[in-house]
């Protein structure tokens, strides 16, 4: 237990987490500090490219095996299944309408790639190894949750437009972050360690520093989200926002153990299950479920669950993975 607390404390005083806290505090204090939209998008492109590329290179070293295929399937299945868990919990814990609960549940079935990136950085700092290709599992978990959410919303009485038409389907499958992540993964896989050596001083050296600035912006966005949604974040929904992550993480850990993943791999699968989408899913929901309160879902994902995972969740899931896999 001491080890765990130490880990958490160590995690807390890393520059990255403190940058997030700074951003959060600045936004709550209504400072005009802001990261221009274009700069924030550029930082995100950098992180997606770097993490995808490194994952692809790692796959060259590990080889494409049965385990990767199984992990991809397990990830997709988890993403598909978790919205049902989240929906049931939301209906029990909050007074959200079925349609709103379905929308929120979709966010929690999908994943947050920044949480994943932060987790890989924490694991590296702790010296815990993980399967480099886990980033491909992250990509596989982005979309299935949307299908479940729309199904739940329809069953819950949503009318009209909330069909997943072919066009929306394409938009979701080809959304920028999936395409870049998968594309960079493929490029890393094709060019291998030689390719990595060529651009290492771009994707490795400044990586953590870029993450700091990005988390500063995430803190600002989360803080503004909190202020905008103050009226809507009821006790029940906030409680859901901190209870759902460990529940999801438990599913992820179980699947990780069943798949025989390393300690770090199981921890990352837990992080993916515990995290909530704030890019792909909200956009899809605005189109398909315009009557749902996506503002609330976004505020929960960004301003409650994201910081919870960043500060408490990641070290917690890592410790649990260690206990479980005996690593």
């Amino acid at each position: 237990m001491t080890g765990l607390l130490e880990l958490a404390a160590q995690n807390l005083i890393s520059p990255a987490i403190l940058c997030f806290v700074l951003g959060l505090a600045a936004a709550l204090a209504r400072s005009d500090l802001s990261v221009p939209e274009a700069a924030a998008k550029a930082l995100a492109l950098y992180l997606l490219f770097a993490i995808g590329f490194k994952g692809g290179v790692a796959l060259v070293e590990a080889g494409v095996g049965v385990q990767l295929g199984a992990a991809l399937l397990a990830g997709a299945a988890l993403s598909f299944a978790l919205p049902f868990v989240a929906f049931a919990m939301l209906r029990a814990m909050s007074s959200l309408s079925p349609v709103d609960a379905a929308a929120v549940a979709g966010h929690y079935g999908s994943i947050s790639i920044v949480t994943f990136v932060a987790a890989t950085a924490s694991l590296s700092a702790m010296g815990v190894a993980f399967e480099g290709w886990m980033v491909a599992v992250a990509a596989a978990m982005e979309v299935p949750a949307i299908v479940s959410a729309l199904w739940l919303a329809l069953r819950g009485g949503a009318a009209g437009g909330e069909r997943m038409d072919a066009r929306l389907w394409r938009e979701v499958m080809l959304n920028g972050s999936i395409v870049l992540l998968v594309g960079a993964f493929a490029i890393g896989w094709i060019t291998g360690p030689a390719g990595r050596a060529e651009i290492s001083s771009f994707i490795d050296a400044p990586f953590r520093g870029v993450l700091c600035l990005f988390l500063l912006d995430m803190g600002l966005v989360a803080g503004r989200g909190l202020r905008a949604a103050r009226g809507q974040l009821t006790g029940g929904t906030v409680a859901f926002g901190v209870v759902m992550p460990p529940v999801g993480a438990a599913f992820g850990l179980a699947a990780g153990a069943a798949l025989g993943l390393s300690t770090g791999g199981a921890a990352l699968l837990a992080v993916l299950c515990a995290s909530a989408s704030y890019i792909a899913v909200p956009a899809a929901m605005r189109v398909a479920l315009p009557q749902a309160n996506t503002g609330l879902a976004l505020a929960l994902a960004l301003a409650v669950t994201f910081p919870f995972n960043l500060v408490v969740g990641i070290p917690l899931y890592a410790a649990a993975a260690q206990a479980l896999t005996g690593g």
Partner: protein, 103 residues
């Protein structure tokens, strides 16, 4: 200078719906439109600003359409079908245009 009577339609709509709207306009026979970026706003669904956005889910755009008056109804019906269930506003102003042969 010689000007011609026309209508200026301004549709403020969620960015995720932009393509669906412009395609509906084109299908309704509109020959041109211009899209302006929107920096922030407020309405029944609350306040938002571009700086606080991640992804495109929350942003909005303003689509401006100059058309001959006789096309107005077709345009509004097409636009309405897209914005109907979504947040956003539609306004129409009388205006005069140069070079009417372009519309």
């Amino acid at each position: 200078m010689q000007t011609h009577v026309a209508k200026r339609v301004e549709i403020i709509i969620e960015a995720v719906m932009e393509r669906r709207l412009t395609e509906a306009l084109t299908a309704a026979g509109v020959t041109g439109y211009t899209v302006l970026p929107v920096q922030g706003g407020s309405g029944r669904s609350g306040e938002w600003s571009r700086e606080g956005q991640v992804g495109r889910a929350g942003g909005m755009v303003a689509v401006i359409c100059l058309i001959r008056p006789e096309r107005l109804d077709g345009l509004l019906e097409a636009a309405f079908r897209v914005v109907e269930r979504h947040i956003g506003v539609v306004s129409v102003t009388d205006c005069a245009i140069l070079r009417a042969e372009r519309f």
